[in-house]
Symmetry: C2
Subunit: 187 residues, 2 copies
DNA sequence: GTCTATACGAAGATAGAC
DNA sequence: GTCTATCTTCGTATAGAC
Protein backbone atom coordinates (compact mmCIF):
# COMPACT_ATOMS: atom_id res chain seq x y z
CA UNK A 1 0.00 0.00 0.00
CA UNK A 2 2.22 2.66 1.36
CA UNK A 3 4.98 1.20 -0.70
CA UNK A 4 2.94 1.38 -3.88
CA UNK A 5 1.98 4.96 -3.22
CA UNK A 6 5.59 5.89 -2.73
CA UNK A 7 6.62 4.23 -5.97
CA UNK A 8 3.80 5.83 -7.90
CA UNK A 9 4.86 9.22 -6.61
CA UNK A 10 8.44 8.62 -7.66
CA UNK A 11 7.40 7.52 -11.14
CA UNK A 12 4.99 10.43 -11.48
CA UNK A 13 7.64 12.87 -10.35
CA UNK A 14 10.06 11.45 -12.91
CA UNK A 15 7.56 12.06 -15.68
CA UNK A 16 6.76 15.60 -14.53
CA UNK A 17 10.44 16.46 -14.19
CA UNK A 18 11.17 15.03 -17.62
CA UNK A 19 8.41 17.17 -19.06
CA UNK A 20 9.10 20.57 -17.58
CA UNK A 21 12.08 20.36 -15.30
CA UNK A 22 12.35 20.36 -11.54
CA UNK A 23 10.69 23.73 -10.98
CA UNK A 24 7.69 22.61 -13.04
CA UNK A 25 7.15 19.60 -10.79
CA UNK A 26 4.75 20.82 -8.13
CA UNK A 27 4.15 18.69 -5.05
CA UNK A 28 0.53 19.81 -5.12
CA UNK A 29 -0.02 18.66 -8.69
CA UNK A 30 1.79 15.41 -8.07
CA UNK A 31 -0.21 14.59 -4.94
CA UNK A 32 -3.48 15.38 -6.67
CA UNK A 33 -2.54 13.37 -9.74
CA UNK A 34 -1.67 10.32 -7.67
CA UNK A 35 -4.65 10.71 -5.35
CA UNK A 36 -2.47 11.32 -2.31
CA UNK A 37 -3.04 14.05 0.30
CA UNK A 38 -0.45 16.77 0.06
CA UNK A 39 0.62 16.32 3.66
CA UNK A 40 1.48 12.69 3.05
CA UNK A 41 4.28 13.75 0.78
CA UNK A 42 6.38 14.64 3.80
CA UNK A 43 5.60 11.34 5.45
CA UNK A 44 6.94 9.42 2.46
CA UNK A 45 9.72 11.90 1.74
CA UNK A 46 10.89 13.60 4.94
CA UNK A 47 13.53 15.46 2.96
CA UNK A 48 10.78 17.19 1.00
CA UNK A 49 10.96 17.99 -2.68
CA UNK A 50 14.73 17.62 -2.96
CA UNK A 51 14.58 14.04 -1.73
CA UNK A 52 11.76 13.17 -4.09
CA UNK A 53 13.58 14.71 -7.03
CA UNK A 54 16.78 12.81 -6.35
CA UNK A 55 14.86 9.59 -6.05
CA UNK A 56 12.99 10.23 -9.29
CA UNK A 57 16.23 10.88 -11.15
CA UNK A 58 17.79 7.71 -9.79
CA UNK A 59 14.63 5.84 -10.75
CA UNK A 60 15.00 6.91 -14.38
CA UNK A 61 18.67 6.05 -14.21
CA UNK A 62 18.04 2.52 -12.98
CA UNK A 63 15.25 1.98 -15.49
CA UNK A 64 17.40 2.83 -18.48
CA UNK A 65 20.43 0.99 -17.11
CA UNK A 66 18.38 -2.18 -16.82
CA UNK A 67 17.16 -1.86 -20.39
CA UNK A 68 20.70 -1.55 -21.71
CA UNK A 69 21.95 -4.44 -19.62
CA UNK A 70 19.16 -6.74 -20.73
CA UNK A 71 19.60 -5.93 -24.41
CA UNK A 72 20.63 -8.85 -26.63
CA UNK A 73 24.08 -8.87 -28.18
CA UNK A 74 23.66 -7.44 -31.65
CA UNK A 75 26.78 -5.41 -32.21
CA UNK A 76 27.43 -1.70 -31.67
CA UNK A 77 24.41 -0.65 -33.71
CA UNK A 78 22.18 -2.81 -31.53
CA UNK A 79 23.40 -1.20 -28.34
CA UNK A 80 22.80 2.21 -29.80
CA UNK A 81 19.33 1.23 -30.97
CA UNK A 82 18.23 -0.08 -27.60
CA UNK A 83 19.32 3.10 -25.87
CA UNK A 84 17.76 5.47 -28.38
CA UNK A 85 14.55 3.46 -28.71
CA UNK A 86 13.90 4.00 -25.02
CA UNK A 87 13.86 7.72 -25.54
CA UNK A 88 12.05 7.55 -28.84
CA UNK A 89 9.21 5.84 -26.97
CA UNK A 90 9.17 8.50 -24.25
CA UNK A 91 9.03 11.21 -26.88
CA UNK A 92 6.30 9.58 -28.95
CA UNK A 93 4.12 8.66 -25.98
CA UNK A 94 4.15 12.26 -24.78
CA UNK A 95 3.64 13.78 -28.24
CA UNK A 96 7.22 15.09 -27.96
CA UNK A 97 6.57 17.01 -24.79
CA UNK A 98 8.54 14.88 -22.36
CA UNK A 99 12.25 14.22 -22.29
CA UNK A 100 14.89 13.10 -19.83
CA UNK A 101 14.63 13.90 -16.12
CA UNK A 102 18.37 13.36 -15.69
CA UNK A 103 19.20 16.19 -18.04
CA UNK A 104 16.68 18.31 -16.18
CA UNK A 105 18.57 17.62 -12.95
CA UNK A 106 21.85 18.47 -14.65
CA UNK A 107 20.46 21.86 -15.68
CA UNK A 108 19.02 22.74 -12.30
CA UNK A 109 20.27 25.69 -10.28
CA UNK A 110 20.61 23.45 -7.23
CA UNK A 111 24.08 21.81 -7.24
CA UNK A 112 22.74 18.95 -5.15
CA UNK A 113 20.87 17.66 -8.16
CA UNK A 114 23.95 17.95 -10.35
CA UNK A 115 25.60 15.27 -8.30
CA UNK A 116 22.76 12.79 -8.86
CA UNK A 117 22.73 13.56 -12.57
CA UNK A 118 26.45 12.98 -12.73
CA UNK A 119 26.11 9.58 -11.07
CA UNK A 120 23.39 8.47 -13.48
CA UNK A 121 25.21 9.71 -16.55
CA UNK A 122 28.35 7.88 -15.43
CA UNK A 123 26.41 4.69 -14.79
CA UNK A 124 24.96 4.81 -18.28
CA UNK A 125 28.36 5.54 -19.72
CA UNK A 126 29.89 2.54 -17.98
CA UNK A 127 27.25 0.05 -18.96
CA UNK A 128 27.21 1.38 -22.52
CA UNK A 129 30.99 1.21 -22.69
CA UNK A 130 30.85 -2.39 -21.55
CA UNK A 131 28.32 -3.29 -24.22
CA UNK A 132 30.31 -1.50 -26.89
CA UNK A 133 33.50 -3.29 -25.85
CA UNK A 134 31.67 -6.60 -26.00
CA UNK A 135 30.47 -5.65 -29.46
CA UNK A 136 33.95 -5.11 -30.84
CA UNK A 137 34.90 -1.54 -29.93
CA UNK A 138 38.47 -1.27 -28.66
CA UNK A 139 38.32 -1.13 -24.83
CA UNK A 140 40.47 1.97 -24.69
CA UNK A 141 38.05 3.91 -26.82
CA UNK A 142 34.77 2.51 -25.56
CA UNK A 143 34.31 4.86 -22.57
CA UNK A 144 34.82 7.99 -24.65
CA UNK A 145 32.52 6.68 -27.32
CA UNK A 146 29.88 5.76 -24.75
CA UNK A 147 29.99 9.26 -23.33
CA UNK A 148 29.50 10.65 -26.82
CA UNK A 149 26.47 8.45 -27.34
CA UNK A 150 24.91 9.61 -24.06
CA UNK A 151 25.58 13.28 -24.84
CA UNK A 152 24.39 13.10 -28.43
CA UNK A 153 21.19 11.26 -27.55
CA UNK A 154 20.42 13.64 -24.69
CA UNK A 155 20.91 16.60 -27.00
CA UNK A 156 18.89 14.95 -29.76
CA UNK A 157 16.00 14.47 -27.34
CA UNK A 158 16.04 18.22 -26.81
CA UNK A 159 16.10 18.93 -30.53
CA UNK A 160 13.25 16.50 -31.10
CA UNK A 161 11.18 18.15 -28.39
CA UNK A 162 11.74 21.51 -30.05
CA UNK A 163 10.93 20.11 -33.48
CA UNK A 164 7.95 18.07 -32.36
CA UNK A 165 9.18 15.11 -34.43
CA UNK A 166 11.61 12.23 -34.09
CA UNK A 167 13.59 13.40 -37.12
CA UNK A 168 16.46 14.97 -35.16
CA UNK A 169 16.88 11.89 -33.00
CA UNK A 170 16.72 9.60 -36.04
CA UNK A 171 19.34 11.56 -37.93
CA UNK A 172 21.68 11.73 -34.97
CA UNK A 173 21.39 7.98 -34.48
CA UNK A 174 22.30 7.47 -38.13
CA UNK A 175 25.48 9.45 -37.72
CA UNK A 176 26.34 7.81 -34.41
CA UNK A 177 25.97 4.44 -36.13
CA UNK A 178 28.51 5.56 -38.70
CA UNK A 179 30.89 6.55 -35.94
CA UNK A 180 30.45 3.25 -34.11
CA UNK A 181 30.98 1.27 -37.30
CA UNK A 182 34.26 3.03 -37.93
CA UNK A 183 35.31 2.35 -34.34
CA UNK A 184 34.56 -1.39 -34.44
CA UNK A 185 36.49 -2.47 -37.53
CA UNK A 186 36.51 -6.17 -36.68
CA UNK A 187 32.78 -6.50 -37.31
CA UNK B 1 19.26 54.79 -22.40
CA UNK B 2 16.04 52.96 -22.52
CA UNK B 3 17.51 50.96 -25.33
CA UNK B 4 20.52 49.96 -23.26
CA UNK B 5 18.36 48.93 -20.35
CA UNK B 6 16.28 46.74 -22.62
CA UNK B 7 19.34 45.07 -24.06
CA UNK B 8 20.85 44.52 -20.65
CA UNK B 9 17.65 42.88 -19.51
CA UNK B 10 17.63 40.58 -22.52
CA UNK B 11 21.23 39.56 -21.96
CA UNK B 12 20.66 39.07 -18.24
CA UNK B 13 17.57 36.97 -18.91
CA UNK B 14 19.55 34.84 -21.33
CA UNK B 15 22.13 34.12 -18.68
CA UNK B 16 19.57 33.34 -16.00
CA UNK B 17 17.64 31.05 -18.34
CA UNK B 18 20.82 29.29 -19.35
CA UNK B 19 21.62 28.74 -15.71
CA UNK B 20 18.38 27.39 -14.32
CA UNK B 21 15.79 27.31 -17.05
CA UNK B 22 12.82 29.54 -17.73
CA UNK B 23 11.06 28.95 -14.41
CA UNK B 24 14.22 29.88 -12.53
CA UNK B 25 14.36 33.25 -14.27
CA UNK B 26 12.39 35.57 -12.00
CA UNK B 27 11.40 39.02 -13.22
CA UNK B 28 12.00 40.31 -9.71
CA UNK B 29 15.57 39.03 -9.59
CA UNK B 30 16.31 40.21 -13.10
CA UNK B 31 15.02 43.73 -12.46
CA UNK B 32 16.97 43.99 -9.22
CA UNK B 33 20.14 42.65 -10.82
CA UNK B 34 19.97 45.16 -13.65
CA UNK B 35 18.95 48.03 -11.40
CA UNK B 36 15.59 48.44 -13.08
CA UNK B 37 12.28 48.90 -11.26
CA UNK B 38 10.11 45.82 -11.52
CA UNK B 39 7.24 47.77 -13.05
CA UNK B 40 9.44 48.91 -15.93
CA UNK B 41 9.67 45.36 -17.14
CA UNK B 42 6.19 45.65 -18.58
CA UNK B 43 7.01 48.92 -20.24
CA UNK B 44 9.90 47.35 -22.12
CA UNK B 45 8.18 44.01 -22.63
CA UNK B 46 4.40 44.45 -22.86
CA UNK B 47 4.04 40.73 -23.50
CA UNK B 48 5.48 40.04 -20.06
CA UNK B 49 7.78 37.18 -19.25
CA UNK B 50 6.98 35.14 -22.36
CA UNK B 51 8.07 37.97 -24.62
CA UNK B 52 11.27 38.52 -22.69
CA UNK B 53 12.10 34.80 -22.76
CA UNK B 54 11.59 34.54 -26.51
CA UNK B 55 13.79 37.54 -27.07
CA UNK B 56 16.51 36.17 -24.81
CA UNK B 57 16.54 32.86 -26.66
CA UNK B 58 16.74 34.59 -30.01
CA UNK B 59 19.54 36.76 -28.63
CA UNK B 60 21.60 33.69 -27.78
CA UNK B 61 20.78 32.25 -31.17
CA UNK B 62 21.97 35.31 -33.05
CA UNK B 63 25.10 35.58 -30.91
CA UNK B 64 26.25 32.05 -31.66
CA UNK B 65 25.23 32.25 -35.31
CA UNK B 66 27.42 35.30 -35.75
CA UNK B 67 30.40 33.57 -34.16
CA UNK B 68 30.12 30.61 -36.50
CA UNK B 69 29.71 32.83 -39.56
CA UNK B 70 32.72 34.94 -38.70
CA UNK B 71 34.98 31.95 -38.08
CA UNK B 72 37.94 31.62 -40.39
CA UNK B 73 38.10 28.75 -42.86
CA UNK B 74 40.10 26.02 -41.18
CA UNK B 75 38.39 22.81 -42.22
CA UNK B 76 35.72 20.74 -40.48
CA UNK B 77 37.67 20.56 -37.22
CA UNK B 78 37.91 24.35 -37.14
CA UNK B 79 34.17 24.78 -37.51
CA UNK B 80 33.60 22.32 -34.71
CA UNK B 81 36.15 24.05 -32.51
CA UNK B 82 34.62 27.48 -32.92
CA UNK B 83 31.18 26.21 -31.99
CA UNK B 84 32.31 24.21 -29.00
CA UNK B 85 34.70 26.90 -27.74
CA UNK B 86 31.77 29.26 -27.38
CA UNK B 87 30.11 26.90 -24.95
CA UNK B 88 33.33 25.95 -23.23
CA UNK B 89 33.73 29.62 -22.37
CA UNK B 90 30.18 29.87 -21.02
CA UNK B 91 30.76 26.81 -18.88
CA UNK B 92 34.12 27.93 -17.53
CA UNK B 93 33.02 31.50 -16.81
CA UNK B 94 30.11 30.25 -14.74
CA UNK B 95 32.08 27.53 -12.96
CA UNK B 96 30.02 24.99 -14.92
CA UNK B 97 26.72 26.27 -13.64
CA UNK B 98 25.39 27.89 -16.81
CA UNK B 99 24.53 26.24 -20.09
CA UNK B 100 22.41 26.93 -23.13
CA UNK B 101 19.20 28.96 -22.91
CA UNK B 102 17.97 27.48 -26.17
CA UNK B 103 17.95 23.97 -24.75
CA UNK B 104 16.14 25.37 -21.72
CA UNK B 105 13.44 26.72 -24.02
CA UNK B 106 13.22 23.38 -25.80
CA UNK B 107 12.59 21.64 -22.48
CA UNK B 108 9.94 24.09 -21.27
CA UNK B 109 6.35 23.04 -20.65
CA UNK B 110 5.15 25.99 -22.69
CA UNK B 111 4.96 24.97 -26.38
CA UNK B 112 5.36 28.60 -27.41
CA UNK B 113 8.99 28.47 -26.39
CA UNK B 114 9.53 25.22 -28.30
CA UNK B 115 8.91 27.08 -31.52
CA UNK B 116 11.63 29.64 -30.80
CA UNK B 117 14.06 26.91 -29.81
CA UNK B 118 13.31 25.07 -33.03
CA UNK B 119 14.04 28.17 -35.09
CA UNK B 120 17.38 28.78 -33.39
CA UNK B 121 18.48 25.14 -33.62
CA UNK B 122 17.62 25.13 -37.33
CA UNK B 123 19.50 28.35 -37.90
CA UNK B 124 22.59 26.91 -36.25
CA UNK B 125 22.21 23.73 -38.23
CA UNK B 126 22.04 25.63 -41.50
CA UNK B 127 25.02 27.85 -40.90
CA UNK B 128 27.05 24.91 -39.58
CA UNK B 129 26.05 22.80 -42.57
CA UNK B 130 27.22 25.57 -44.87
CA UNK B 131 30.56 25.80 -43.12
CA UNK B 132 31.00 22.05 -43.20
CA UNK B 133 30.18 21.90 -46.89
CA UNK B 134 32.72 24.65 -47.56
CA UNK B 135 35.23 22.62 -45.58
CA UNK B 136 34.89 19.53 -47.72
CA UNK B 137 31.91 17.61 -46.34
CA UNK B 138 29.63 16.29 -49.10
CA UNK B 139 26.68 18.70 -49.40
CA UNK B 140 24.16 15.88 -49.12
CA UNK B 141 25.49 14.81 -45.77
CA UNK B 142 26.36 18.19 -44.30
CA UNK B 143 22.90 19.02 -42.86
CA UNK B 144 22.60 15.71 -41.04
CA UNK B 145 26.11 16.03 -39.72
CA UNK B 146 25.47 19.60 -38.61
CA UNK B 147 22.40 18.49 -36.70
CA UNK B 148 24.48 15.83 -34.99
CA UNK B 149 27.07 18.40 -33.96
CA UNK B 150 24.41 20.67 -32.46
CA UNK B 151 22.76 17.80 -30.59
CA UNK B 152 25.99 16.30 -29.30
CA UNK B 153 27.36 19.63 -28.11
CA UNK B 154 24.09 20.54 -26.39
CA UNK B 155 24.08 17.21 -24.62
CA UNK B 156 27.75 17.49 -23.76
CA UNK B 157 27.08 20.87 -22.15
CA UNK B 158 24.59 19.12 -19.90
CA UNK B 159 27.05 16.37 -19.02
CA UNK B 160 29.75 18.92 -18.28
CA UNK B 161 27.40 20.86 -16.01
CA UNK B 162 26.65 17.66 -14.13
CA UNK B 163 30.32 16.73 -13.92
CA UNK B 164 31.56 20.20 -13.04
CA UNK B 165 34.37 19.88 -15.57
CA UNK B 166 34.93 20.32 -19.28
CA UNK B 167 35.98 16.70 -19.69
CA UNK B 168 32.69 15.45 -21.15
CA UNK B 169 32.59 18.27 -23.70
CA UNK B 170 36.24 17.72 -24.61
CA UNK B 171 35.77 14.01 -25.16
CA UNK B 172 32.64 14.47 -27.23
CA UNK B 173 34.44 17.00 -29.41
CA UNK B 174 37.25 14.50 -29.95
CA UNK B 175 34.81 11.90 -31.21
CA UNK B 176 32.91 14.40 -33.34
CA UNK B 177 36.20 15.39 -34.93
CA UNK B 178 36.75 11.75 -35.85
CA UNK B 179 33.32 11.62 -37.42
CA UNK B 180 33.88 14.81 -39.38
CA UNK B 181 37.25 13.62 -40.61
CA UNK B 182 35.73 10.44 -41.95
CA UNK B 183 33.01 12.49 -43.65
CA UNK B 184 35.41 14.89 -45.40
CA UNK B 185 37.83 12.51 -47.09
CA UNK B 186 39.19 15.05 -49.55
CA UNK B 187 41.06 16.93 -46.83
C1' DG C 1 6.62 57.60 -19.26
C1' DT C 2 8.76 55.89 -14.57
C1' DC C 3 8.49 53.76 -10.68
C1' DT C 4 6.19 52.49 -5.96
C1' DA C 5 3.05 49.83 -3.84
C1' DT C 6 0.10 46.17 -4.04
C1' DA C 7 -3.00 42.52 -5.73
C1' DC C 8 -3.52 37.73 -6.45
C1' DG C 9 -2.24 33.09 -6.95
C1' DA C 10 0.75 29.17 -6.26
C1' DA C 11 4.76 27.32 -4.41
C1' DG C 12 7.02 24.45 -0.39
C1' DA C 13 6.46 23.33 4.09
C1' DT C 14 4.26 22.43 8.69
C1' DA C 15 0.85 22.21 12.82
C1' DG C 16 -2.34 19.79 14.79
C1' DA C 17 -6.97 17.34 14.58
C1' DC C 18 -8.42 12.65 14.01
C1' DG D 1 0.19 7.35 11.07
C1' DT D 2 -3.15 10.20 7.81
C1' DC D 3 -4.84 14.00 6.21
C1' DT D 4 -6.89 18.93 6.63
C1' DA D 5 -6.07 23.49 7.18
C1' DT D 6 -2.88 26.99 7.26
C1' DC D 7 1.70 29.69 7.33
C1' DT D 8 5.10 32.06 4.78
C1' DT D 9 7.39 33.24 0.74
C1' DC D 10 7.83 34.30 -3.86
C1' DG D 11 6.02 34.27 -8.50
C1' DT D 12 3.72 37.35 -12.37
C1' DA D 13 1.17 41.13 -13.16
C1' DT D 14 -1.09 45.70 -12.52
C1' DA D 15 -2.99 50.21 -10.51
C1' DG D 16 -2.09 54.57 -9.80
C1' DA D 17 1.00 58.36 -7.81
C1' DC D 18 4.50 61.39 -9.69
Amino acid sequence: MTRDTRQRMVAGAARMIGTGGIDAMSLRDLAEQEGVPLGSTYHHFPGGKAELVDEAVRYVGAYVTRIIEQAPETGPRGVLQVFSDTWRATLAQSDYRSGCAVLAAATSTDPRHHEVAREVFEAWQQVLAGSLADAGVPPARAPRLARTVVAAVEGAIGLSRAAGTADPLDEVIEELAELLDSAAPTR
